[in-house]
Protein backbone atom coordinates (compact mmCIF):
# COMPACT_ATOMS: atom_id res chain seq x y z
CA UNK A 1 0.00 0.00 0.00
CA UNK A 2 1.75 3.09 -1.21
CA UNK A 3 1.03 6.00 1.03
CA UNK A 4 -0.10 6.05 4.58
CA UNK A 5 -3.78 6.11 5.26
CA UNK A 6 -4.94 9.55 4.29
CA UNK A 7 -7.02 11.12 6.99
CA UNK A 8 -10.32 11.44 5.18
CA UNK A 9 -12.51 13.35 7.54
CA UNK A 10 -15.97 12.39 6.46
CA UNK A 11 -15.99 8.75 7.42
CA UNK A 12 -19.46 7.93 6.13
CA UNK A 13 -20.97 5.63 8.68
CA UNK A 14 -23.06 2.94 7.10
CA UNK A 15 -26.47 4.32 8.00
CA UNK A 16 -25.50 7.96 7.51
CA UNK A 17 -27.78 9.29 4.85
CA UNK A 18 -26.59 12.67 3.77
CA UNK A 19 -22.78 12.44 3.57
CA UNK A 20 -21.81 16.01 4.34
CA UNK A 21 -19.34 18.07 2.46
CA UNK A 22 -18.15 17.97 -1.12
CA UNK A 23 -18.25 15.05 -3.51
CA UNK A 24 -16.57 11.85 -2.45
CA UNK A 25 -12.88 12.43 -3.22
CA UNK A 26 -12.36 8.89 -4.55
CA UNK A 27 -15.21 9.33 -7.00
CA UNK A 28 -13.83 12.69 -8.03
CA UNK A 29 -10.47 11.01 -8.76
CA UNK A 30 -12.21 8.34 -10.86
CA UNK A 31 -14.18 11.03 -12.73
CA UNK A 32 -10.91 12.77 -13.47
CA UNK A 33 -9.16 9.61 -14.66
CA UNK A 34 -11.96 8.23 -16.83
CA UNK A 35 -13.84 10.49 -19.21
CA UNK A 36 -17.57 9.98 -19.61
CA UNK A 37 -18.18 8.73 -16.06
CA UNK A 38 -20.94 10.20 -13.93
CA UNK A 39 -20.99 10.47 -10.13
CA UNK A 40 -24.20 9.95 -8.14
CA UNK A 41 -24.79 9.73 -4.39
CA UNK A 42 -27.47 7.05 -3.92
CA UNK A 43 -28.80 6.94 -0.36
CA UNK A 44 -25.53 8.17 1.03
CA UNK A 45 -23.34 5.77 -0.96
CA UNK A 46 -20.95 6.97 -3.72
CA UNK A 47 -21.80 5.42 -7.12
CA UNK A 48 -19.89 5.98 -10.37
CA UNK A 49 -21.35 5.16 -13.78
CA UNK A 50 -18.47 4.39 -16.16
CA UNK A 51 -18.24 3.55 -19.83
CA UNK A 52 -18.45 -0.17 -20.62
CA UNK A 53 -14.99 -0.40 -22.17
CA UNK A 54 -13.15 0.97 -19.15
CA UNK A 55 -14.80 -1.34 -16.60
CA UNK A 56 -11.62 -3.37 -15.97
CA UNK A 57 -9.36 -0.32 -16.09
CA UNK A 58 -11.41 1.32 -13.33
CA UNK A 59 -10.85 -1.80 -11.21
CA UNK A 60 -7.10 -1.68 -11.82
CA UNK A 61 -7.05 2.05 -11.09
CA UNK A 62 -8.99 1.65 -7.84
CA UNK A 63 -6.80 -1.20 -6.67
CA UNK A 64 -3.46 0.39 -7.53
CA UNK A 65 -4.01 4.10 -6.95
CA UNK A 66 -6.91 4.37 -4.53
CA UNK A 67 -6.10 1.48 -2.13
CA UNK A 68 -9.37 -0.32 -2.81
CA UNK A 69 -8.06 -3.67 -1.66
CA UNK A 70 -11.14 -5.89 -2.19
CA UNK A 71 -13.74 -6.42 -4.88
CA UNK A 72 -16.83 -7.25 -2.88
CA UNK A 73 -19.37 -8.23 -5.48
CA UNK A 74 -20.07 -8.38 -9.23
CA UNK A 75 -23.68 -8.71 -10.39
CA UNK A 76 -26.04 -7.47 -13.06
CA UNK A 77 -29.55 -5.99 -13.28
CA UNK A 78 -32.09 -6.40 -16.11
CA UNK A 79 -34.23 -3.27 -16.50
CA UNK A 80 -36.58 -4.58 -19.19
CA UNK A 81 -39.87 -4.33 -17.28
CA UNK A 82 -39.09 -1.38 -14.99
CA UNK A 83 -41.93 0.77 -13.69
CA UNK A 84 -40.33 4.11 -12.80
CA UNK A 85 -36.70 3.34 -13.51
CA UNK A 86 -34.10 4.99 -11.25
CA UNK A 87 -32.29 7.15 -13.78
CA UNK A 88 -29.44 9.33 -12.56
CA UNK A 89 -28.83 12.46 -14.72
CA UNK A 90 -26.35 12.19 -17.59
CA UNK A 91 -26.27 8.39 -17.92
CA UNK A 92 -27.24 6.68 -21.22
CA UNK A 93 -29.53 3.98 -19.88
CA UNK A 94 -29.42 0.51 -21.47
CA UNK A 95 -31.26 -2.70 -20.66
CA UNK A 96 -28.56 -4.37 -18.56
CA UNK A 97 -26.39 -2.86 -15.83
CA UNK A 98 -23.28 -4.65 -14.50
CA UNK A 99 -22.58 -3.57 -10.93
CA UNK A 100 -19.28 -3.98 -9.09
CA UNK A 101 -18.85 -3.08 -5.41
CA UNK A 102 -15.39 -2.22 -4.09
CA UNK A 103 -14.21 -1.92 -0.54
CA UNK A 104 -11.10 -0.14 0.73
CA UNK A 105 -10.06 -1.53 4.09
CA UNK A 106 -7.40 1.08 4.74
CA UNK A 107 -9.72 4.02 4.04
CA UNK A 108 -12.82 2.20 5.33
CA UNK A 109 -14.73 3.29 2.23
CA UNK A 110 -17.01 1.62 -0.29
CA UNK A 111 -17.58 2.52 -3.94
CA UNK A 112 -20.02 1.12 -6.47
CA UNK A 113 -19.10 1.13 -10.14
CA UNK A 114 -21.94 0.55 -12.60
CA UNK A 115 -21.71 0.24 -16.39
CA UNK A 116 -24.62 0.09 -18.81
CA UNK A 117 -24.67 -2.90 -21.16
CA UNK A 118 -26.85 -2.87 -24.32
CA UNK A 119 -28.99 -5.95 -24.91
CA UNK A 120 -27.74 -6.26 -28.49
CA UNK A 121 -24.13 -6.90 -27.51
CA UNK A 122 -23.98 -7.99 -23.85
CA UNK A 123 -20.27 -8.17 -23.12
CA UNK A 124 -18.08 -6.49 -20.51
CA UNK A 125 -14.30 -6.70 -19.91
CA UNK A 126 -13.68 -9.23 -17.12
CA UNK A 127 -12.28 -8.23 -13.73
CA UNK A 128 -10.68 -11.61 -13.05
CA UNK A 129 -7.18 -10.57 -14.23
CA UNK A 130 -7.34 -7.68 -11.72
CA UNK A 131 -9.19 -9.43 -8.88
CA UNK A 132 -9.12 -13.28 -9.03
CA UNK A 133 -12.11 -13.20 -6.67
CA UNK A 134 -14.32 -12.15 -9.58
CA UNK A 135 -14.07 -15.61 -11.16
CA UNK A 136 -17.19 -17.18 -9.58
CA UNK A 137 -19.52 -14.11 -9.63
CA UNK A 138 -18.75 -13.43 -13.26
CA UNK A 139 -19.54 -17.01 -14.15
CA UNK A 140 -22.79 -16.68 -12.22
CA UNK A 141 -23.67 -13.40 -13.97
CA UNK A 142 -22.95 -15.05 -17.33
CA UNK A 143 -25.07 -18.04 -16.31
CA UNK A 144 -27.98 -15.93 -15.07
CA UNK A 145 -27.95 -13.01 -17.54
CA UNK A 146 -25.94 -14.17 -20.55
CA UNK A 147 -23.50 -11.25 -20.20
CA UNK A 148 -20.13 -12.43 -21.54
CA UNK A 149 -16.97 -11.32 -19.74
CA UNK A 150 -14.06 -11.05 -22.15
CA UNK A 151 -10.81 -12.33 -20.65
CA UNK A 152 -12.45 -14.66 -18.16
CA UNK A 153 -10.39 -17.90 -17.88
CA UNK A 154 -13.32 -20.36 -17.71
CA UNK A 155 -16.64 -18.74 -18.64
CA UNK A 156 -19.03 -21.69 -18.25
CA UNK A 157 -22.34 -22.14 -16.41
CA UNK A 158 -21.89 -22.39 -12.66
CA UNK A 159 -25.37 -22.74 -11.18
CA UNK A 160 -27.59 -24.18 -13.89
CA UNK A 161 -27.06 -27.66 -15.43
CA UNK A 162 -24.61 -27.44 -18.30
CA UNK A 163 -27.19 -28.26 -20.97
CA UNK A 164 -29.69 -25.59 -19.83
CA UNK A 165 -30.90 -23.16 -22.48
CA UNK A 166 -31.78 -19.58 -21.66
CA UNK A 167 -30.65 -17.28 -18.87
CA UNK A 168 -33.07 -17.46 -15.92
CA UNK A 169 -32.70 -14.04 -14.33
CA UNK A 170 -33.57 -12.18 -17.50
CA UNK A 171 -36.98 -10.54 -17.25
CA UNK A 172 -38.18 -12.26 -20.41
CA UNK A 173 -37.40 -15.70 -18.95
CA UNK A 174 -40.67 -17.03 -17.45
CA UNK A 175 -40.70 -17.79 -13.71
CA UNK A 176 -42.03 -21.20 -14.91
CA UNK A 177 -44.59 -21.44 -12.16
CA UNK A 178 -46.35 -24.81 -12.04
CA UNK A 179 -50.13 -24.29 -11.64
CA UNK A 180 -50.99 -25.34 -8.08
CA UNK A 181 -53.77 -27.94 -8.05
CA UNK A 182 -55.51 -29.21 -4.91
CA UNK A 183 -57.20 -32.54 -4.23
CA UNK A 184 -60.51 -32.68 -6.04
CA UNK A 185 -59.67 -29.56 -8.04
CA UNK A 186 -61.47 -30.15 -11.38
CA UNK A 187 -58.91 -28.56 -13.71
CA UNK A 188 -55.56 -27.01 -12.95
CA UNK A 189 -55.98 -23.23 -13.09
Amino acid sequence: MADTTDTTTDEPRENDHEAPGPDDDVAAAVLGAFAGSVFVRSHGQPVVYVARGSFADVARYLRDEQQFSMLIDVTAVDHLLDGVRYSPPGVALERFEVVANYLSHVRNRRLRVICEVPAAEPSVPSLTPVFPGANFPERETFDMFGIAFEGHPDLTRILMPDDWEGHPLRKDFPVAKVPVTFKGDPSPR
Binding site: P161, P168, F173, A176, K177, V178, V180
Partner: protein, 182 residues
Protein backbone atom coordinates in the same frame (compact mmCIF):
# COMPACT_ATOMS: atom_id res chain seq x y z
CA UNK B 1 -35.01 -66.04 -4.54
CA UNK B 2 -36.40 -63.52 -2.14
CA UNK B 3 -39.13 -63.32 0.44
CA UNK B 4 -41.66 -62.95 -2.35
CA UNK B 5 -40.92 -66.33 -3.85
CA UNK B 6 -41.55 -68.00 -0.45
CA UNK B 7 -45.04 -69.63 -0.61
CA UNK B 8 -47.41 -67.62 1.57
CA UNK B 9 -49.02 -70.09 4.00
CA UNK B 10 -49.34 -70.76 7.68
CA UNK B 11 -45.92 -72.43 7.82
CA UNK B 12 -44.04 -69.34 6.66
CA UNK B 13 -46.27 -66.74 8.29
CA UNK B 14 -44.08 -66.45 11.38
CA UNK B 15 -41.00 -66.19 9.15
CA UNK B 16 -42.41 -63.14 7.35
CA UNK B 17 -43.26 -61.48 10.67
CA UNK B 18 -39.72 -62.08 11.90
CA UNK B 19 -38.23 -60.69 8.72
CA UNK B 20 -40.49 -57.62 8.78
CA UNK B 21 -39.71 -57.11 12.47
CA UNK B 22 -36.02 -57.29 11.66
CA UNK B 23 -36.34 -54.79 8.83
CA UNK B 24 -38.40 -52.41 10.90
CA UNK B 25 -35.97 -52.26 13.76
CA UNK B 26 -32.79 -51.66 11.81
CA UNK B 27 -33.64 -49.13 9.12
CA UNK B 28 -30.41 -47.32 8.17
CA UNK B 29 -31.06 -43.86 6.62
CA UNK B 30 -28.77 -42.64 3.83
CA UNK B 31 -27.40 -39.13 4.44
CA UNK B 32 -29.21 -37.18 1.79
CA UNK B 33 -29.24 -33.79 3.47
CA UNK B 34 -29.78 -31.03 0.91
CA UNK B 35 -30.90 -27.84 2.62
CA UNK B 36 -32.42 -26.50 5.87
CA UNK B 37 -34.28 -29.77 6.52
CA UNK B 38 -30.87 -31.47 6.74
CA UNK B 39 -30.16 -29.48 9.91
CA UNK B 40 -33.41 -30.66 11.45
CA UNK B 41 -32.63 -34.22 10.35
CA UNK B 42 -29.28 -33.94 12.14
CA UNK B 43 -31.04 -32.47 15.16
CA UNK B 44 -33.31 -35.51 15.14
CA UNK B 45 -30.29 -37.76 14.96
CA UNK B 46 -28.43 -35.89 17.70
CA UNK B 47 -28.55 -36.47 21.43
CA UNK B 48 -31.77 -34.76 22.43
CA UNK B 49 -34.28 -36.15 19.94
CA UNK B 50 -32.20 -39.31 19.52
CA UNK B 51 -33.05 -41.52 16.56
CA UNK B 52 -30.97 -44.28 18.15
CA UNK B 53 -34.04 -45.33 20.11
CA UNK B 54 -35.45 -46.67 16.82
CA UNK B 55 -32.22 -48.34 15.77
CA UNK B 56 -31.54 -45.61 13.22
CA UNK B 57 -28.70 -43.60 14.73
CA UNK B 58 -26.22 -44.62 12.04
CA UNK B 59 -26.54 -42.37 8.98
CA UNK B 60 -24.87 -44.47 6.31
CA UNK B 61 -23.02 -42.42 3.77
CA UNK B 62 -23.01 -44.86 0.90
CA UNK B 63 -26.30 -46.04 -0.60
CA UNK B 64 -24.96 -49.59 -0.62
CA UNK B 65 -25.56 -49.88 3.11
CA UNK B 66 -28.72 -47.79 3.45
CA UNK B 67 -32.31 -48.81 3.02
CA UNK B 68 -34.13 -45.57 3.79
CA UNK B 69 -33.57 -42.33 1.91
CA UNK B 70 -34.78 -39.21 3.74
CA UNK B 71 -34.88 -36.51 1.04
CA UNK B 72 -34.24 -33.55 3.36
CA UNK B 73 -34.45 -30.29 1.45
CA UNK B 74 -35.27 -28.81 -1.90
CA UNK B 75 -34.31 -30.85 -4.97
CA UNK B 76 -33.01 -28.68 -7.82
CA UNK B 77 -33.04 -29.61 -11.48
CA UNK B 78 -29.29 -30.23 -11.42
CA UNK B 79 -29.66 -32.54 -8.41
CA UNK B 80 -32.48 -34.66 -9.84
CA UNK B 81 -30.31 -37.15 -11.83
CA UNK B 82 -28.00 -37.49 -8.83
CA UNK B 83 -30.95 -38.28 -6.56
CA UNK B 84 -32.26 -40.86 -9.01
CA UNK B 85 -28.79 -42.44 -9.30
CA UNK B 86 -28.40 -42.73 -5.53
CA UNK B 87 -31.92 -44.15 -5.22
CA UNK B 88 -31.15 -46.79 -7.85
CA UNK B 89 -27.92 -47.72 -6.10
CA UNK B 90 -29.66 -48.36 -2.80
CA UNK B 91 -30.20 -51.95 -1.75
CA UNK B 92 -33.61 -53.52 -1.79
CA UNK B 93 -36.01 -53.28 0.00
CA UNK B 94 -35.75 -49.49 0.11
CA UNK B 95 -38.03 -46.74 1.29
CA UNK B 96 -38.18 -42.99 0.81
CA UNK B 97 -39.33 -40.31 3.23
CA UNK B 98 -39.84 -36.90 1.62
CA UNK B 99 -38.97 -34.48 4.41
CA UNK B 100 -40.33 -30.96 4.28
CA UNK B 101 -42.66 -29.22 1.88
CA UNK B 102 -39.86 -28.36 -0.58
CA UNK B 103 -39.16 -32.06 -1.17
CA UNK B 104 -42.84 -33.01 -1.12
CA UNK B 105 -44.31 -30.37 -3.43
CA UNK B 106 -41.63 -27.80 -4.28
CA UNK B 107 -42.80 -25.72 -1.31
CA UNK B 108 -42.53 -21.95 -1.60
CA UNK B 109 -40.11 -22.15 -4.53
CA UNK B 110 -42.55 -22.62 -7.37
CA UNK B 111 -40.05 -21.77 -10.07
CA UNK B 112 -37.79 -23.08 -12.83
CA UNK B 113 -35.04 -24.38 -10.58
CA UNK B 114 -36.85 -26.71 -8.19
CA UNK B 115 -38.38 -30.12 -8.98
CA UNK B 116 -41.97 -29.66 -7.85
CA UNK B 117 -42.14 -32.70 -5.62
CA UNK B 118 -39.55 -35.46 -5.34
CA UNK B 119 -42.20 -38.06 -6.18
CA UNK B 120 -41.65 -37.12 -9.79
CA UNK B 121 -38.28 -38.82 -9.52
CA UNK B 122 -38.52 -41.56 -6.92
CA UNK B 123 -41.53 -43.37 -5.40
CA UNK B 124 -42.15 -41.78 -1.99
CA UNK B 125 -43.64 -43.66 0.95
CA UNK B 126 -44.06 -41.05 3.68
CA UNK B 127 -44.37 -37.28 3.34
CA UNK B 128 -43.57 -35.11 6.40
CA UNK B 129 -44.93 -31.57 6.22
CA UNK B 130 -43.24 -28.48 7.69
CA UNK B 131 -40.60 -26.01 6.65
CA UNK B 132 -38.42 -27.31 8.22
CA UNK B 133 -40.40 -30.06 9.94
CA UNK B 134 -39.48 -30.20 13.60
CA UNK B 135 -37.73 -33.31 14.88
CA UNK B 136 -41.04 -34.50 16.33
CA UNK B 137 -42.72 -34.32 12.92
CA UNK B 138 -39.90 -36.26 11.31
CA UNK B 139 -40.02 -38.88 14.04
CA UNK B 140 -43.77 -39.20 13.57
CA UNK B 141 -43.13 -39.78 9.86
CA UNK B 142 -40.50 -42.40 10.70
CA UNK B 143 -42.83 -44.18 13.12
CA UNK B 144 -45.56 -44.31 10.47
CA UNK B 145 -43.02 -45.83 8.11
CA UNK B 146 -42.02 -48.38 10.75
CA UNK B 147 -45.63 -49.28 11.33
CA UNK B 148 -46.19 -49.86 7.63
CA UNK B 149 -43.04 -51.94 7.39
CA UNK B 150 -44.15 -54.09 10.31
CA UNK B 151 -47.55 -54.76 8.78
CA UNK B 152 -45.94 -55.31 5.40
CA UNK B 153 -48.45 -52.88 3.95
CA UNK B 154 -45.62 -50.82 2.43
CA UNK B 155 -44.22 -53.61 0.31
CA UNK B 156 -47.70 -54.65 -0.74
CA UNK B 157 -48.40 -51.08 -1.89
CA UNK B 158 -45.12 -50.96 -3.77
CA UNK B 159 -45.90 -54.18 -5.56
CA UNK B 160 -49.49 -53.14 -6.26
CA UNK B 161 -48.66 -49.82 -7.91
CA UNK B 162 -45.15 -49.72 -9.32
CA UNK B 163 -45.09 -45.94 -8.97
CA UNK B 164 -45.59 -46.23 -5.22
CA UNK B 165 -45.62 -42.50 -4.87
CA UNK B 166 -48.18 -39.98 -6.01
CA UNK B 167 -46.44 -38.92 -9.17
CA UNK B 168 -44.98 -40.38 -12.34
CA UNK B 169 -41.81 -42.41 -11.88
CA UNK B 170 -39.08 -42.88 -14.49
CA UNK B 171 -38.10 -46.42 -13.55
CA UNK B 172 -35.16 -48.08 -15.23
CA UNK B 173 -35.92 -51.52 -16.58
CA UNK B 174 -34.19 -54.17 -14.41
CA UNK B 175 -31.45 -56.27 -16.05
CA UNK B 176 -32.45 -59.63 -17.55
CA UNK B 177 -32.47 -62.07 -14.66
CA UNK B 178 -29.90 -64.31 -16.37
CA UNK B 179 -27.16 -61.78 -15.53
CA UNK B 180 -24.14 -63.25 -13.71
CA UNK B 181 -25.10 -61.43 -10.53
CA UNK B 182 -27.99 -63.54 -9.23
Amino acid sequence: MGLEQVPHNFLTARLEDVVRWGRRNSVFPATFGLACCALEMMATGAAHYDLARFGMEVFRASPRQADLMIVAGRVSQKMAPVLRQVYDQMVEPKWVISMGVCASTGGMFNNYAIVQGVDQIVPVDVYTPGCPPGPETLMHGILTLHEQIRTGELLRRREASPTGGAGIVLDREPLPTSSPVS
